[in-house]
C-alpha cells in the first residue's frame, strides 16, 4: 500500500497529481528548484524538498536527487507527471531499485517506446500501421515533404519539416543539435510528412492483470510548432469503424509491450481515413482532462490504484458529451511565439466550476488546471504554460462556445498570452466545422495567429474607463479635499488629460466632470454612470457597459464586454533618468546572455553581432544598429536579463563628410 507520493514535477501537473493524492488519503511530497521555492505546488504539498539550482538539468532532471528526496521525505512512491523524467526508463529503474513504487509503466515498456524508430519496428511487427522511415541519404524529390524527428523525446523539439532537398542536411544537423541538448540523445530520423493530417490519440489504461482499456480518443491537431494548443475528446468527425480500428490498434500496441498504467498511443490520421502509429507516450498526457471530462474518470487516481496492483473493471465507462481544452501560454503568438515572463497578478476565468477535477455527474462545466496563482511570477526557466482551460458540454459546439467565452472574458493580468489566438481558433468556422488538422494554424494564420487590428473605438473607450477609474482612485486616496468633485474648477481652462499607450497606438483621454455630467473629448454621448477605482460603468449609444480596471505600476488592464485591453499609463512628466542613450541595445525578451562577441571600445559594423541571448532554447542575435564603437557592454555571459534591460550601447560613428545639420531655426 502506498502512503506517500513524491511528485517529481512542477507546475499544474504537480498540483493535479497532489490533488488526487489528497483525495486518496495519501501524503504528497513536492520537489522544487530555487525559482519554484514559493510555487503553488510547493505550498500545497504536505512536504517539499529543495532541488538546488534553476536549470532543469540541475533540478527536475536529476534522477539521483529525486530518489534521495523521496527517501528523505519518507515517500514510498514516485509520480513523474509529464515531461522531465516521465519517460526516462533509467529514472523508473532508479525509483524501483530504491524500493519505491513507480507510478507508471514498467521501465522496459518505457525503454521499448523511448526510441521512436525502435517503437515503430515493434508496432509494425505487431500489425499496427506505421509510416515507413525514409533514409535521408536516399531521399528524393518524390519523398518531399519530409519530417525530421528526434528519436527520443517529444514536445516538438528537434522536429523540422523539410520541403527542399538542399535544406535536408542542414535541418538534420540542427535537429540533432537540438535533440542532443534537449534529450541527451542526438538520434534523429525522417518520415513522410502528411501536410493536413490529423493528430488523433487514444488514451490507454492497463492493469497488471491483463486488462487494457482504450478510454476514448482525443484530437490534438491544432498545433503550433508541433506543440499542441487545442485538444478535444472525442476526436470529431471520425466514422465509427475508423474510431474502433484506432482503439483496437492502441490496445494492440499496449499489449505488444506489456504495458501497465496510463499511456497514450498517438496516430497520424490522413484525410483518406488511413492512420499510422506515431509514438506511444508512456505517461499521463497534458491533455488528459478532456478524457476525464467526457468519462468522469480520475486518471491519476486510476494510476495510483494500478500502481498498487489493483485490477481495472473489465471495460471503461462510455464517453458522453464533448470536452475541449485550450492551453493558455505566456507567449506572444504574433511575435514568433516569444515566451513572456513576469508577475501574474490575476488569472480569473469567469464561470470556472472546477479545478484539477471533473465534478461527477455534471453534464457541462468549466475546469481550470493552473500552474500559477495570483501574485506568482512566471519565470523564464520552464515551460511558459500558465493554465489549461477545459469546457465540457453535451455537444462540441456548446463546449467550444463556452470555452471561447470564458477565455474572451478572462481577466489575465500579467505577461502577454496566447488568449486571443485561442479564442479565435475556438470561434473559427473551420474549427467549428470540425475541419482540424496539424496545418490549421498555418493555413488560417491571418485569422488566428497574426496580430489582429485592435478595435480602436473599444481601445479608446477602455482608455477612458482607465482614466476615470484612476480619477476615482486618486479622489479616494487624496489626503486633502478628497470629498470635493474630481477635477473641479471655478474657472475651467483645460480638461484633465491622461495618456495611455497600447502596442501600436497612443490614446490621450481628455475629460472634465461638469455639472451636466462627464464631458470627454472624442466621446460624444458617452455618459458616466459610476466610477470606482476598480470599476467604471459607461453608457455609450444607449448601451451600458461595465469595465473592470486594475492597475499594476504603469500597466492598466481594462476588462469588459468589448474585450480585454492592456494599457501603459504614460506619466505626465518624462522621467529624465529613463531616457535611453541613442544606440542602446535592449533585451528584446527575458533570457540569458550566452556569449558576447565584442568588447568595449571595439569598432562594429551595422548588423554585426554584439551578443547572443538564449530564451526558451532559442538563440537570438543582438546586433549593432549602425556602424560605430561599442561604448558600453553592460552584461556578461551567463547573466539573466529581463526584457528592456540595457545590454550594450553602440555609439554611432560620425557620418563621413561631416556638415552641420540642416535643421531650421
Amino acid at each position: 500500500m502506498i502512503t506517500s507520493v513524491l511528485v517529481a514535477n512542477r507546475g499544474e501537473i504537480a498540483r493535479r497529481v497532489l490533488r488526487s493524492c489528497r483525495d486518496a488519503g495519501l501524503d504528497g511530497v513536492a520537489v522544487f528548484s530555487d525559482p519554484d521555492a514559493d510555487a503553488p505546488h510547493v505550498r500545497e504539498a504536505d512536504a517539499a524538498v529543495r532541488l538546488p539550482g534553476a536549470a532543469p538539468a540541475d533540478t527536475y532532471l536529476r534522477a539521483d536527487l529525486l530518489v534521495q528526496a523521496a527517501l528523505a521525505a519518507g515517500a514510498d512512491a514516485v509520480h513523474p507527471g509529464y515531461g522531465f523524467l516521465s519517460e526516462n526508463a533509467g529514472f523508473a529503474r532508479a525509483v524501483l531499485d530504491a524500493g519505491l513504487v513507480w507510478i507508471g509503466p514498467p521501465p522496459e515498456a518505457i525503454a521499448a517506446m523511448g526510441s521512436k524508430t525502435g517503437a515503430k519496428r515493434i508496432m509494425a511487427g505487431a500489425g499496427v500501421p506505421v509510416l515507413g522511415a525514409v533514409d535521408p541519404a536516399a531521399a528524393t524529390e518524390a519523398d518531399l515533404p519530409l519530417l525530421v524527428k528526434a528519436a527520443a523525446g517529444g514536445g516538438g523539439r528537434g522536429m523540422r519539416v523539410v520541403r527542399d532537398l538542399a535544406a535536408l542536411d542542414g535541418e538534420l544537423a540542427a535537429a540533432r543539435a537540438e535533440a542532443a541538448s534537449a534529450f541527451g540523445d542526438g538520434e534523429v530520423f525522417c518520415e513522410p510528412y502528411v501536410e493536413t493530417g490529423r493528430h488523433v490519440e487514444v488514451q490507454l489504461m492497463a492493469d497488471a492483470h491483463g486488462t487494457v482499456w482504450a478510454v476514448g480518443d482525443r484530437d490534438c491537431s491544432v498545433q503550433r510548432r508541433h506543440q499542441k494548443v487545442v485538444e478535444e475528446a472525442p476526436a470529431p468527425g471520425i466514422p465509427d469503424a475508423v474510431r474502433e480500428a484506432l482503439h483496437e490498434a492502441a490496445r494492440t500496441a499496449a499489449r505488444a509491450i506489456g504495458y501497465t498504467g496510463a499511456g497514450t498511443a498517438e496516430f497520424l490520421l490522413a484525410p483518406d481515413g488511413r492512420f499510422f502509429f506515431l509514438e506511444m507516450n508512456t505517461r499521463l498526457q497534458v491533455e488528459h482532462p478532456v478524457t476525464e471530462c467526457t468519462t468522469g474518470l480520475d486518471l491519476v487516481a486510476l494510476q495510483l490504484r494500478v500502481a498498487e496492483g489493483a485490477a481495472l473493471p473489465p471495460a471503461p465507462p462510455a464517453t458522453r458529451g464533448h470536452a475541449i481544452e485550450a492551453r493558455l501560454y505566456a507567449e506572444d503568438p504574433a511575435a514568433d511565439w516569444q515566451p513572456q515572463a513576469g508577475p501574474l497578478h490575476l488569472l480569473e476565468l469567469p464561470g470556472t466550476t472546477a479545478r484539477f477535477r471533473t465534478p461527477a455527474g455534471e453534464e457541462c462545466g468549466l475546469r481550470l488546471d493552473s500552474g500559477v496563482e495570483d501574485g506568482d511570477t512566471v519565470t523564464v526557466h520552464y515551460d511558459p504554460m500558465l493554465a489549461k482551460a477545459v469546457a465540457w458540454a453535451p455537444t462540441r459546439a456548446e463546449a467550444a462556445r463556452r470555452l471561447a467565452a470564458a477565455l474572451a472574458r478572462a481577466r489575465i493580468h500579467g505577461p502577454a498570452t496566447n488568449r486571443d489566438l485561442l479564442v479565435r481558433v475556438l470561434r473559427h468556422p473551420a474549427f467549428l466545422a470540425g475541419d482540424v488538422h496539424t496545418a490549421f494554424l498555418r493555413q488560417h494564420h491571418a485569422d488566428t495567429v497574426a496580430r489582429q487590428a485592435p478595435d480602436k473605438d473599444a481601445e479608446a473607450l477602455a482608455a477612458l474607463a482607465a482614466a476615470l477609474a484612476d480619477a476615482a482612485g486618486r479622489r479616494a486616496a487624496a489626503p486633502v479635499l478628497g470629498g470635493l468633485p474630481a477635477g473641479w474648477r471655478n474657472v475651467p481652462s483645460a480638461p484633465q488629460a491622461k495618456r495611455y499607450r497600447t502596442a501600436d497606438a497612443e490614446h490621450e483621454v481628455r475629460y472634465r466632470h461638469t455639472r451636466d455630467g462627464l464631458l470627454a473629448e472624442g466621446h460624444p454621448g458617452v455618459r458616466l454612470v459610476s466610477a470606482a477605482p476598480g470599476r467604471v460603468v459607461l453608457e455609450a449609444g444607449g448601451v451600458r457597459r461595465a469595465f473592470a480596471v486594475a492597475r499594476y505600476g504603469d500597466t492598466v488592464h481594462v476588462d469588459g464586454p468589448l474585450g480585454a485591453v492592456v494599457l501603459t499609463a504614460v506619466g505626465r512628466f518624462p522621467d529624465p533618468a529613463a531616457q535611453t542613450a541613442p544606440g542602446s541595445l535592449l533585451a528584446p525578451m527575458p533570457g540569458t546572455v550566452v556569449r558576447t562577441a565584442v568588447a568595449e571600445g571595439d569598432a562594429v559594423r551595422a548588423g554585426q553581432t554584439v551578443l547572443w541571448l538564449e530564451a526558451m532554447k532559442m538563440e537570438h542575435r543582438v546586433t549593432a544598429p549602425a556602424d560605430g564603437t561599442v561604448a558600453e557592454l553592460r552584461v556578461r555571459p551567463g547573466q539573466q536579463v529581463e526584457p528592456g534591460a540595457l545590454l550594450a550601447v553602440v555609439r554611432e560613428a560620425a557620418p563621413a563628410g561631416g556638415g552641420a545639420s540642416a535643421e531650421g531655426p
Binding site: A471, R475, A478, L481, P485, R489, N490, V491, R572, F573
Partner: protein, 532 residues
C-alpha cells in the same frame, strides 16, 4: 440630526423667474472669466506657444495633483480698469503632492506678464491668504517686472511682494519659486527671497541688470546667460537649487520639492462619513429673487450647502431677522450667521454678538451669509440703542479669532456689511454670488438721500429747486451706484476673492475650510470693551 425642511417650490413661477435671472448673470460671469482665461489674446497666446512654452494655467494644471480641485482666486481682478481682466496673474489654491498650496502664475501673454497695480493687489492678496492660512506658496514666475507706465502705482507698494516672501519663510511657511523666463530687476528678488528655487535650462533669466543696463552702469560687456542663465545660477551663483531640462521637468521638480516639505495641517481634521445635502444644490439658482427688495429665507441656502442639510439653530425665536446656528460643511464644523429679513435690529445684533463669542469659545469657524440692508434706522431704534448694539456686533466680529468666511448672496449694505464681516473685517475668504450687491446703501436710497439733501440746501438758500435736473441726477446717480455695487465691479477691485456660481458654494466652502485648517483654529478669549 436636525434636517431642515424646505418650502422652496421649484415648480413655481417665482422660482423659474429667479432661476432665469441667475442663469443670465452666470452667463455674463462666464464671459468675463473667459476674458481672463484668454490672457493676452490669441496672437500673444500663439506666440507664446510657438516658443515652446506652456500657458500660465497649463503650468498650474501640470503642477496640481491629477483630478484634484483648484479654486482660482480673484479671476476678475482689474475688471473695469484700463488693464485686462485677470491682471496678468493667475492665483489660487490647489493640491500639490497631497499638500494644499497657494499657487500664483504670471501670465506672460498679457504684456509680458508685467505687474500693473491690480497685479500687485492680486499677488499681495494671494500672499496674505498663504500667510493667514499657513499654506505653502508656489510662484510660477515669468514676468517682465513692473508695468513701466504705471510704475508710480507699482514701484513703492510693490516692495511688499518681496517682504511677504521672507515673512512667510520666517513664519515657517515654505515658499517655492519656479522661474520659467524673465524674472529680472526687482523680479529677481522673487527667487531671491524664496526657500526653494527651480530654474529652467536655457529659459530662466534672473538678474538685477540685463546686458544694456550693465553696459550703461559699468561698461562691462556681458550676455544674458552669464548674467542670469539657469545653468549659471545652478552651477555658479547657487541661486537655483534645481536645474530643470524643460518646463514640465521644472514642474516635476517643484512637485518633488513640495512632496518633501512633509507639510502637516495644524487645524483639526474634518469628520469622516460626510453626507451631502438632502436637497439639490441646483435649486440654489432659484432662491434669490431678481429684485433684492424681496426677502428670501437663507435656510433654503443652508439646506443646500451644509452636510446632510443638518442645521441646529441658535435662538430661533429671538432676533428672527438673523438666523444663527451650527452645521458642518465637508466635515468641518461651522457657525452660520445668515440674514433672514435684511434689516438688523438690536436683538439681531445682540444675538450675533453672543453667537460669535460662543464660536470663539468652541474654536468653530464662522460663515456669514449676507443679505442685509443694514442696521435699522429711526427714532425708536436710535433711542433703543441700535448704535450700541451694532457696535457690539462689529466689536465681536472684529476681535473674533476663529476663521471667517463671507458669502454675499444678495444685498450687503451699510454697516450691515461690516457687522456681517465685510472685506475690511478680514474674513479669510469672501465670495459673492452674481446676485449680490454691496454699497453704503441701495442705489435708489442713495440717490434719494442726495436729492433730499440738495432740495434742503436749495430751500435754505431760498433758491427754486430744478425738479427736471433732480430727476436726471437721481437717475444718473442710481445708475452709477448700481454699477459700482455689482459683484464683477467689486471683484475687479479685489473687494472679494471671486464671484462664484451659487451651486458651487458648498465646494468652495469645503475647499476654503480645508485651507483655513492648515493653520491652527483658535478662538479669541478676550474682547474689546462692549458698550452695554
Amino acid at each position: 440630526m436636525t434636517v431642515l425642511a424646505s418650502s422652496l417650490d421649484p415648480g413655481s413661477p417665482d422660482f423659474a423667474a429667479n432661476r432665469d435671472a441667475m442663469l443670465a448673470k452666470l452667463a455674463e460671469l462666464d464671459a468675463e472669466h473667459a476674458k481672463a482665461v484668454g490672457g493676452g489674446g490669441p496672437k500673444y497666446v500663439e506666440r507664446h506657444r510657438r516658443r515652446g512654452k506652456l500657458l500660465a494655467r497649463e503650468r498650474i494644471e501640470l503642477l496640481l495633483d491629477p483630478d484634484s480641485p483648484f479654486l482660482e482666486l480673484s479671476p476678475l481682478a482689474a475688471w473695469g480698469s484700463e488693464y485686462p481682466v485677470g491682471a496678468a496673474l493667475v492665483t489660487g489654491i490647489g493640491v500639490v503632492e497631497g499638500t494644499e498650496c497657494v499657487i500664483t502664475a504670471n501670465d506672460p501673454t498679457v504684456r509680458g506678464g508685467a505687474s500693473n497695480p491690480w497685479t500687485l493687489r492680486k499677488a499681495l492678496r494671494a500672499n496674505e491668504i498663504a500667510l493667514r492660512n499657513r499654506l505653502p506658496l508656489v510662484n510660477l514666475v515669468e514676468s517682465g517686472g513692473a508695468d513701466l507706465p504705471s510704475q508710480k502705482e507699482v514701484f513703492i507698494p510693490g516692495g511688499a511682494l518681496f517682504r511677504d516672501l521672507t515673512r512667510l519663510s520666517a513664519a515657517g511657511i515654505p515658499t517655492v519659486s519656479v522661474v520659467f523666463g524673465n524674472s529680472t530687476a526687482g523680479g529677481a528678488y522673487v527667487p531671491g527671497m524664496s526657500d526653494h528655487v527651480v530654474m529652467v535650462k536655457d529659459r530662466s533669466k534672473v538678474f538685477l541688470g540685463g546686458p544694456p543696463l550693465v553696459r550703461m552702469a559699468t561698461g562691462e560687456e556681458a550676455d544674458d546667460e552669464s548674467l542670469g542663465g539657469a545653468d549659471m545660477h545652478a552651477r555658479v551663483s547657487g541661486l537655483a537649487d534645481h536645474l530643470a531640462v524643460d518646463e514640465p521637468d521644472a514642474l516635476r521638480l517643484a512637485r518633488r520639492v513640495v512632496a518633501r516639505l512633509r507639510w502637516d495641517k495644524r487645524g483639526p481634521a474634518p469628520a469622516a462619513g460626510v453626507e451631502p445635502p438632502k436637497y439639490d444644490p441646483e435649486e440654489l439658482l432659484g432662491v434669490v429673487p431678481g429684485d433684492l427688495k424681496t426677502p428670501f429665507d437663507p435656510r433654503e441656502v443652508v439646506a443646500r450647502v451644509v452636510d446632510g442639510s443638518d442645521f441646529d439653530e441658535f435662538k430661533p425665536l429671538y432676533g428672527t431677522s438673523l438666523a444663527t446656528g451650527w452645521a458642518s460643511v465637508h466635515g468641518y464644523p461651522v457657525g452660520i450667521l445668515a440674514n433672514a429679513q435684511g434689516v438688523l435690529f438690536s436683538a439681531e445684533a445682540q444675538k450675533a454678538t453672543q453667537f460669535i463669542q460662543l464660536a470663539n469659545q468652541r474654536d468653530i469657524p464662522l460663515l456669514f451669509l449676507h443679505n442685509t440692508t443694514g442696521y435699522m434706522v429711526g427714532r425708536e431704534y436710535e433711542q433703543g440703542g441700535i448704535i450700541k448694539h451694532g457696535a457690539m456686533m462689529i466689536n465681536a466680529v472684529s476681535n473674533s479669532h476663529v476663521p471667517h468666511i463671507s458669502v454675499l448672496m444678495g444685498a450687503s449694505y451699510g454697516a450691515g456689511h461690516y457687522g456681517m464681516c465685510g472685506r475690511a473685517y478680514d474674513p479669510r475668504f469672501l465670495f459673492a454670488w452674481p446676485s449680490a450687491k454691496a454699497a453704503v446703501m441701495g442705489p435708489q436710497q442713495l440717490a434719494g438721500v442726495l436729492s433730499i439733501v440738495a432740495r434742503q440746501s436749495a430751500a435754505a438758500k431760498g433758491r427754486p429747486y430744478d425738479e427736471d435736473a433732480d430727476a436726471a441726477v437721481r437717475a444718473m446717480v442710481e445708475q452709477q451706484i448700481e454699477a459700482e455695487s455689482l459683484p464683477v465691479f467689486l471683484s475687479g477691485r479685489l473687494y472679494d476673492d471671486g464671484v462664484i456660481d451659487p451651486r458651487d458654494t458648498r465646494t468652495v466652502l469645503g475647499l476654503c475650510l480645508s485651507a483655513v485648517h492648515s493653520a491652527p483654529v483658535e478662538g479669541a478669549r478676550g474682547y474689546g470693551v462692549y458698550r452695554m
